[in-house]
Each structure stands twice: as structure tokens, then as C-alpha cells.
């Protein structure tokens, strides 16, 4: 999996979690909370969907790694590739 593929996968999860949001212009290097209406419960939803859909665990002390699409890709891509 590439980092771009990882970003798309995270965006697909966000599309379900925040269905009212326009995700067409999400900036990769900007915090998701600064450009979308996402709260702490929504981030827990992202963690849950990663667990359910992809068997990926994000420990609580590493939630900050999900702050932006860039940080998500940096943190999650190796985890996805380790699954294969």
C-alpha cells in the first residue's frame, strides 16, 4: 500500500463517519479537526473502523498520529503493509 492509497482509505472511513462533509478539498498537511467538523467521538469512530475493517490497532497514546492525512499515512501505511 502506498501513502496515497492509505490516505484514500482514511478518507473513505471519514466519509462514513462525517457524511455531511465535503471531502473533495481536504488538505493533507492540515489537521483534520481544523478543516472538518470532527470531534473526539469521531476520532474514536476512525479508530474503531480501522480495527473492524482492517484489524489495525491504534493505541490511545498514539491517537495524535491521526491528526492529519499526512500523519495518518505516515503512521498507518507501515501498519497496513505489515498485515500483508
Amino acid at each position: 500500500m502506498t501513502k496515497d492509497e492509505c490516505k484514500k482509505l482514511v478518507l473513505d472511513i471519514i466519509a462514513d463517519i462525517a457524511p455531511d462533509e465535503d471531502l473533495s478539498n481536504v488538505k493533507s498537511d492540515v489537521k483534520l479537526r481544523d478543516q472538518l467538523e470532527l470531534d473526539s467521538m469521531d476520532f474514536l469512530d476512525i479508530v474503531m473502523e480501522l480495527r473492524k475493517q482492517h484489524s489495525i490497532e491504534v493505541p490511545e497514546d498514539q491517537y495524535e498520529q491521526l491528526a492529519s492525512l499526512d500523519s495518518c499515512a505516515e503512521y498507518l501505511t507501515p501498519k497496513f503493509n505489515a498485515l500483508v
Binding site: 463517519i17 462525517a18 457524511p19 455531511d20 467538523e37 467521538m41 474514536l44 469512530d45 474503531m48 480495527r51
Partner: protein, 433 residues
């Protein structure tokens, strides 16, 4: 002490002084209605279908239960909620949000300038949390029952105040917002709670009634089935048949109805249209059985509601029955009604569940709403699906299968009873300035 047809009703003790003060203080009126029923998403559509004999029951597939008749609502949730609110919240919350917004719109109050800290939300529910808990158990069953897959949304979804809380979040209401758990008497009790809080001066506008999401829990259906009280019929539209000799139980429905209620002086001051006035009510308990109703206590409940309203039984033109189409429950209520309304040739009896099934916590409020327009149109909607009247349910003036035009409707008595023996009777009368 009031005497009615040889039956005496009296309060067992002294009424608290504040109650007498409050009663003298304000008359409480209905100025708006927001509802969704299996056969209508506003009071106009709902009433038209009740008068046209149009039921709203269909077959649905339900986890573990297979195909069952049920009353399903098709309101537009996204009229007042974002998709995310619908996803995170509950069906009962969504129904409540729809009804509350509709009630505010219907009552015509200036919502933008309304002090939201003076608005109360009082939502009656039969039960809450079954749907969400069953869904989560089903969810983790796909993960070998590992609870790390249990949703963090579970607790806010299942706290008992969820439906009212979702209304407060959606409408930015900062006044009291809570639910009353009162089995299937809850819809009436929501309105009664609002009446009391308005009289006490706790709020200036109340959004009150009841809601149900019960069709989404297999447990309700399975429980009634095990009890021998779940309706079956080859035609779902005919499945809910109170008073018919072939009735075989309850059709479970979802729905909601919240009223806008105000003190009369406030409603008059803003020139509001008044749809009816709360004339009297009573709540009591059977204290006799978990599920079997008690006609003696039901008789007392109706009698004390009449007494509080300062009315005789003959002052009531419509008695809307609670009857759910269980073999025993219908007969018990008929015994109670026959006792209270004997020698009342101008009192007519009907039943709304024959159209919409049993909408549980919403039932009392929705069924009252089905009859409220009778003050304007002088019609008594029928009880339908009554092909062979059970002789034990042969009440005089039961309005069967076709609506009836009568001279004038001045007062409606609405019965709602529930498990564990909770009874409620609510009387609404025509508003006269």
C-alpha cells in the same frame, strides 16, 4: 366529592396547597402538534387517513423474528437533522427531533427570539436502549463477542433521557429535557408532566408527548409472542383489530407525537391558534399484576380525571380507547368504560391502534392527536378491522369501521394504560375564550 352515575370518586387525602395554587394559576393549552405515524407525517395527513379508513401497517423482516406486521414511519429525518446526527443518534431521538421541530413550526412561536432556557422537553417512552443494545450485541457477535468492538456511542444512545436529550442538542434547548418511562401510558404522561411544569412556572413552552422506536428491537416482538400477545394476519393492514372476536394480539409500531403546550395567557398574548385545552387528567397504578390490566383501577383513573376536569361522564363526546387487540386487555377496558360511561348516549368510543398499531410510548400522544381535529370537523374516527364484534366488547356507541359525524365534539377522554399496571386518562376540551 363528585358523584357520577352512582359511582363516587374522591381524593384520598388533602391536595397540597401548591397544587391548588397552581391549578388556579393557569389553564394549559395545546398550540402545536408535531407527529409521525405509520399513516401520516403531520396532523393533517394523519387525520385525513384516519377518516378515510386508511391503516398504515406493513410486513417487515426483523432479525431472529422473520416477517412480522409492524407500523413503520417514513418521515423525512433529514428535514431537521444532519446525516451525522442520524448516524450517531437513535431512531427514538430522530423521531423526537422531527416531532419537536414540527411542533414548534406548527405553533407559530418566534423560535429565534425564544428564551431556550424556558423551554421544557418531556418525552414519554415505553422503553429505551433495547434497540441499541441488541444492535451492539449483534455487532460484536461478528467479532467472536470481543467487547473491544463495542461502540463508544452505546452509552449516550442508551441513557434513558436520550430521545429528549437529542432534541435539546438539535434545537439548542437549554431548559429541562428528559424522558418519562411509563410503559404504554407514557404518551399521556408526557403531556401531563408538561401541564404540571407549566403550571409550576418551570418553563414557558413545553414540547411534550411520547415516542417509540420499538419496531427495531426483536425483543419486544419476541416477548409479546412468548406472551401469546403478538398479532398475526395474512393481510398486515388487518392485523390490528381491537374488539374483533378474532383479534390475536398487538401490532408493534414506531412513531412519535410531541405537542407544543403553553399557559393560556401566553398563548393568547401572542395570538396563537389554540387546538385544545387540557381539562383534566389522572395517573394511578393497579398494584395487582405485571401485565394483566385491572378494570377497577382503570375506572378510578377515568373517574378522577373527570373529577379534576369538573366534568360529568356525559360531558365527554369521544373516549379513545387504549385497547391493543389482546383478547383479555380489550375486555377489561370495556368493563371499565362501561362502568364510567353508562347512560351516556352522546359519548362515542373509538380506537386509533386499529389504524396504526401500538406505537408504545407514542401511543397516548398519537392517539389523542388523531382525535384533536374533531373539535373542528365534528367527526369521530372509527375503529377499523372490526368484522365480528366480540360480545364482551360491545360497548354502546362504538364507532365501527366508518367515521361518524356528530353534532359537536367538546371533550375527548384519552386512555393509555401500561405494563406493571400504570394507568392514565387525559381529557382535552375545546377551547372557549
Amino acid at each position: 366529592m363528585a358523584r357520577q352515575k352512582g359511582i363516587s370518586f374522591e381524593f384520598d387525602g388533602e391536595l397540597p396547597g401548591i397544587y391548588i395554587f397552581a391549578m388556579a394559576l393557569s389553564r394549559i393549552v395545546i398550540t402545536g402538534v408535531g407527529l409521525t405515524a405509520p399513516n401520516g407525517n403531520d396532523i393533517g395527513e394523519y387525520r385525513a387517513n384516519l377518516l378515510a379508513g386508511k391503516a398504515g401497517i406493513q410486513f417487515m423482516d426483523l432479525r431472529y423474528m422473520g416477517t412480522v406486521p409492524a407500523g413503520i414511519c417514513n418521515y423525512d429525518a433529514l428535514r431537521y437533522q444532519k446525516k451525522k446526527e442520524v448516524r450517531i443518534g437513535t431512531r427514538a431521538g430522530s423521531i423526537s427531533v422531527y416531532c419537536a421541530n414540527e411542533a414548534v413550526k406548527h405553533c407559530g412561536i418566534d423560535w429565534e427570539t425564544m428564551d431556550k432556557s424556558r423551554v421544557g422537553v418531556y418525552v414519554g417512552t415505553t422503553e429505551h436502549g433495547n434497540v441499541e443494545t441488541e444492535n451492539e450485541i449483534f455487532n460484536i457477535s461478528k467479532f467472536d463477542y470481543d467487547t473491544k468492538f463495542w461502540s463508544h456511542h452505546h452509552n449516550p444512545r442508551t441513557v434513558a433521557n436520550n430521545p429528549a436529550g437529542e432534541v435539546s442538542l438539535n434545537m439548542k434547548i437549554t431548559g429541562p429535557a428528559y424522558t418519562m418511562g411509563a410503559a404504554c401510558a407514557a404518551g399521556n404522561i408526557g403531556v401531563i408532566q408538561a401541564t404540571q411544569m407549566l403550571r409550576l412556572g418551570e418553563v414557558d413552552l413545553a414540547l411534550a408527548g411520547g415516542v417509540s422506536e420499538s419496531i427495531h428491537t426483536f425483543g419486544i416482538f419476541a416477548g409479546f409472542k412468548s406472551q401469546g400477545a403478538l398479532a398475526t394476519h395474512e393481510d398486515p393492514m388487518k392485523a390490528s383489530r381491537p374488539f374483533d372476536v378474532d383479534r390475536n394480539g398487538i401490532v408493534v409500531s414506531e412513531g412519535g407525537c410531541l405537542y407544543a403546550l403553553e399557559r393560556l395567557e401566553d398563548a393568547v398574548a401572542r395570538g396563537a391558534r389554540i387546538y385544545g385545552e387540557i381539562a383534566g387528567y389522572h395517573i394511578n397504578s393497579d398494584a395487582s399484576d405485571y401485565v394483566l390490566p385491572n378494570p377497577t383501577r382503570q375506572t378510578e383513573c377515568m373517574g378522577k380525571a373527570l373529577e379534576r376536569a369538573g366534568m360529568a361522564a356525559s360531558d365527554i363526546q369521544i373516549v379513545n380507547t387504549h385497547a391493543t387487540a389482546t383478547p383479555q386487555g380489550d375486555i377489561q377496558e370495556c368493563i371499565a368504560i362501561a362502568k364510567v360511561f353508562e347512560n351516556c348516549p352522546n359519548t362515542y368510543i373509538n380506537n386509533t391502534k386499529s389504524f396504526i398499531g401500538h406505537s408504545m410510548g407514542a401511543a397516548g400522544a398519537l392517539e389523542l392527536a388523531g382525535n384533536l381535529p374533531s373539535f373542528d370537523d365534528g367527526m369521530v374516527h372509527a375503529t377499523i378491522n372490526l368484522d365480528n364484534l366480540d360480545p364482551d366488547c360491545a360497548l354502546p356507541n362504538l364507532v365501527v369501521n366508518e367515521p361518524l359525524a356528530i353534532k359537536q365534539v367538546d371533550a375527548v377522554l384519552n386512555n393509555s394504560f401500561g405494563m406493571l399496571g400504570i394507568n392514565s386518562a387525559l381529557i382535552v376540551k375545546r377551547y372557549d375564550a
